[in-house]
Symmetry: C2
Subunit: 610 residues, 2 copies
């Protein structure tokens, strides 16, 4: 089915009887398709990747609007170059988010449609909050928003992929550190404080964290499609029966289990019998479920407290990060030998190599996202990963190579990026060396900063890009994201970004978060340097107990041959040298005790002081 035919098919449904039955006869003037699933998951099962099917764009952030004449796709700075490549510009218009002249989807609809026009949307693909605001805004200018339960794209998506049906895994006490019973008690205490009688959970990471299980419905995210309704006395789980076995059933014996597809009818019925109950509806809940409760509910960020890791979780993440770092050292050592020997590898092969090294590590479960293995100017695309012909690009001496990769282990999730120059560093362009150093300077500046506990991450973002700004440079993505414990590699509510100020995104001791500034020169090269950090209490001269600092979890050498030392201040040089001392101690120690002598010797050289 051609790209044009897909749009034709979609527009054909604008006046289908199923639609006009809902609109009272008016055909749709526009259809909205955010790229998400019923649980607002960031990564999608292919089963839910309707935007890719329709538009060919494969980035993780997209919002599609199809009108009778236009097809538009909104995305952010990470994906401008990629979207321009993947979208057929005869059919599609790229709409850039978060630029000075950006307009929102709502404003676009208001400017381009006339009063009385109908706008269709799938109530499972918008949050209750976003859906309510959309309805309010469109209604206020005389447009007619129409919730259509059955997604229109599904009706002509004949070769739609199927879902996996792997059983869920149950974590043990040494893995999760806090029982479901205890987590439910804490959650109910929070509900009582807010005078709530119940909470509905739709965010899959909240659910699996609460239940100490992990699932496999979505690639790279250890999640299982489900909903929960938790009252002060009962806990109901909605999950496909095929996902459970005897072990998980035993583990969940105190939970009432229902079929996944019964969530909406069961919760509606529960609401009928509990009309005055005050229900906490987390802001990520979809419009289809959220609108069951309507105004008589508390809407706020999820109160499920997975962002502050407990002692066992954090200890596990330290251990798994060292194994993960060792896999990366093995990889970079191997790569240097191969390049010296004149061998070349394409991006797929390089990704396979690091993926394979990780897979051999103890407690490995899966990758935490598709490995970004980017050669030369592919590194200028912040979220590039090898795909199709592009991935055949080969790496040889005297090139940029950017590797952004990570894994899930039963004891932790990782995410590390390194950018290197292969072969002879004297062939690296001066501006690459300079800009690589500016990115490193920003990374270290933030990693060294002491800051008050409880501040919002938005207040730290500028520190990682200040050095670039002074040269008139910047990068289009945020500085960092929360990381789960054998859970989503992008985990809210914390983060270090600049777009929004999450209401509950205050940074606390026990958080795990990345620092990953970058710089991207389109058509030439990209640089990104990323570690995971835990936030720990800092000792400060004032004696205050309320300050935090970043303690690294990732221990992987940063290529020193492409650093212009004159651009770093004394403190920054000191940080880098002591970071490398500890890389040698921890990752080197792992290599030593596993008999990897040649890798250890190579690592010693990488960790020499500058």
């Amino acid at each position: 089915m051609s790209a044009a035919d897909k749009l034709l098919a979609l527009r054909g449904l604008f006046s289908s009887p199923a639609v006009t039955a809902l609109t009272g006869g008016t055909p749709l003037s526009a259809y909205l398709l955010p790229s998400t699933d019923a649980h607002q998951s960031e990564y999608l099962a292919d089963y839910d990747f309707r935007v890719k099917f329709l538009s060919n764009f494969s980035g993780s952030n997209a919002y599609v609007v199809v009108t009778e004449k236009n097809a538009l796709l909104w995305t952010d700075g990470r994906y401008f170059v990629q979207a321009a490549k993947q979208l057929d510009d005869k059919l599609w218009t790229l709409m850039k988010q978060a630029q000075p002249d950006s307009i929102t989807v709502e404003d676009y609809l208001i400017s381009n449609l006339a009063a009385g026009n109908a706008v269709g949307f799938d109530p499972f693909l918008l949050t209750y909050d976003a859906g309510s605001k959309l309805l309010k805004k469109l209604n206020s200018v005389g447009l007619k928003p129409v919730a259509i339960n059955e997604n229109l794209v599904d009706k002509f998506w004949t070769d739609r992929p199927t879902l996996s049906n792997k059983k869920v895994d149950v974590l043990n006490t040494n893995e999760h550190g806090q029982s479901t019973c205890d987590k439910l008690t804490k959650l109910r205490e929070k509900l009582k404080k807010q005078k709530c009688d119940a909470i509905v959970l739709g965010a899959l990471d909240d659910i699996v964290w609460m239940l100490n299980i992990r699932g496999f419905d979505i690639p790279y995210n250890p999640l299982v499609y489900s909903y929960m309704l938790i009252t002060l006395d009962e806990a109901h789980l909605f999950i496909d029966d095929s996902r459970l076995d005897d072990a998980s059933r035993a583990h969940l014996s105190n939970i009432h289990i229902h079929n996944y597809t019964d969530a909406q009818p069961f919760i509606s019925k529960w609401r009928e019998s509990n009309k005055t109950a005050r229900v906490f509806v987390p802001t990520s809940t979809n419009y289809a479920i959220g609108s069951i409760f309507g105004e008589n509910s508390i809407q706020d960020d999820s109160p499920v407290m997975k962002a502050v890791k407990n002692g066992i979780e954090i200890q596990n993440m330290r251990t798994s990060s060292i194994r993960d770092s060792a896999a990366l050292v093995q990889f970079f050592y191997w790569l240097e030998q191969e390049i010296k020997a004149g061998k070349t590898y394409n991006e797929f092969e390089l990704a396979d190599k690091i993926d394979g090294l990780r897979a051999k590590m103890e407690k490995f479960v899966d990758l935490s996202f598709t490995t970004i293995s980017a050669v030369g100017d592919h590194s200028a695309l912040p979220h590039y990963h090898p795909d199709g012909d592009e991935g055949n690009r080969t790496l040889h001496a005297n090139q940029v190579f950017l590797l952004d990769s990570g894994a899930h282990y039963r004891d932790g999730t990782t995410d590390v990026t390194r950018t290197i120059w292969t072969g002879d560093v004297s062939t690296a362009p001066a501006d690459f060396i300079r800009n690589n150093t500016l990115v490193l300077k920003g990374h270290i500046h933030l990693a060294q900063t002491l800051f008050p506990s409880g501040i919002n991450g938005v207040r730290l973002d500028t520190l990682s890009r200040h050095a670039l700004w002074q040269q008139g440079l910047d990068f289009g993505h945020g500085t960092g994201h929360g990381v789960g414990m054998y859970l989503n590699v992008h985990e809210g509510p914390i983060g270090i970004g600049f777009r929004t100020m999450s209401r509950h995104g205050d940074l606390k001791s026990g958080n795990v978060i990345t620092i990953e500034p970058g710089y991207y020169l389109p058509q030439h090269y990209g640089v990104r340097i990323e570690n995971c950090y835990e936030l720990v209490s800092a000792e400060v001269n004032s004696g205050s107990k309320d300050f935090l600092r970043f303690e690294p979890l990732s221990w992987v050498p940063i290529q020193t041959a492409i650093i212009d030392k004159s651009l770093l201040n004394e403190d920054q040089v000191k940080w880098l040298n002591s970071y490398h001392d500890k890389v040698l101690e921890l990752t080197g120690g792992f290599l030593k005790s596993n008999g990897m002598t040649t890798e250890l010797e190579w690592l010693q050289k990488q960790c020499e002081h500058i």
Copy 2:
């Protein structure tokens, strides 16, 4: 009337017939009183300062809740010390805003009241947005919010001050730089783009800017009580007739003029005849006016573009800032001579001295806020100003003196803070020198920063406090605020703060904004160093045209004798020295051409390089 009697009187009204007629018989369980007027003005006419009358707290940010048993006052970090002093703690509880464990007014009400309880509020004192959210949240937990048009405090405020009735002033072309006709055309273009048929204006600075007039209803703010209703063809102004004379009537000849008190009935009636009109209701509009339009309106930040100054406005602000700086130099010169001569002055006298020097300057109109003249530990109260017995504190040698002051001239508004040590600087405590330098370091760090045009000010705030954080120190207020052109000294929507991310607070060339980091050691001393800056296009190495920098408007020496140079880096020392070179050129130039030779000689010493 005693503080206890006032609360008794207010609680007595909780079950008055006027109230129970609105609640259907239920007496109030709580009454809400934010410290503002019907226009959400920051500074209040004494006529509207109900919170001070009731609670004795005189800070500019306060939200009072009185329940049957408790009286609570919410305020922010600027005022914690002051509020603790002014509130009678047997009657009042101080509620701290923006702390890790802070709770909001709504959450307090939800936790402390029971379903069915009535909560009274004055619909003129809440924005439409805040009022709608309050109603939604309270309703959702079964509380009953009740709008009471006549403020309950007014009913027992027998010695309530009266309003001034000074006539408005009209600005000329060389003062405003853009005619009302042109401003209305630009505003109507914006309305059409948003498919709006009209806008209602309630923010007084929006109105006087739009009409190129200034008023005198509120001390320190050149405003006049008014509303506007602007349609695509007509402009209606609601203003007390006594404020106009022949000149202003002639100037406003194209505007339909109505009485101030007719605003609500006229706008309601207009709405009746224009039911389908889409009306822009700025978010600062009060609930009484905003609820006339309800959901069928566009609610967003005001589209009145006063934050970007035009060429004439900015040139005027440069000129007035130099005169203002010269007044400060005269003051600090005078003070040094007097202290040397062994004389002492109390805080009132010091404030009178600087106020008097400013008043003699050409085009002086008024102060832009009450002068903060703080001796010794009074400087530890960020928004202290001499009042009552406190102001009798005398300044002599070997003390901290903090002066935060500014004025309105017909060609600009100013705001400058300097902190000095009087007498022999060798008597200054080492920690004062160190912390003063850290504050200066933060000020310079931000003032030197190049940053992308269009970013939100929240992204710059951390730069001014980073040096303090590294020592485990911080300050409780934002870094800076927008400044009007002969208008409010605190002017939105721009600012450099950390609490919220204003949706339209993107920084642009032509903005005028302060940088004013501080440090406050309670019971000991406070430091604050503040300049006004204009934002100008920056030349950057990358060649990008999209970067901005801060160019000072205030040219007042910063006491170099209390700087620990070893804490500044080379660039920071360079900035300070070249700032002082320019102080000498501009402010020195003014002193010279006005024959103030001794002041000029003194200034030369102050501006010597460190």
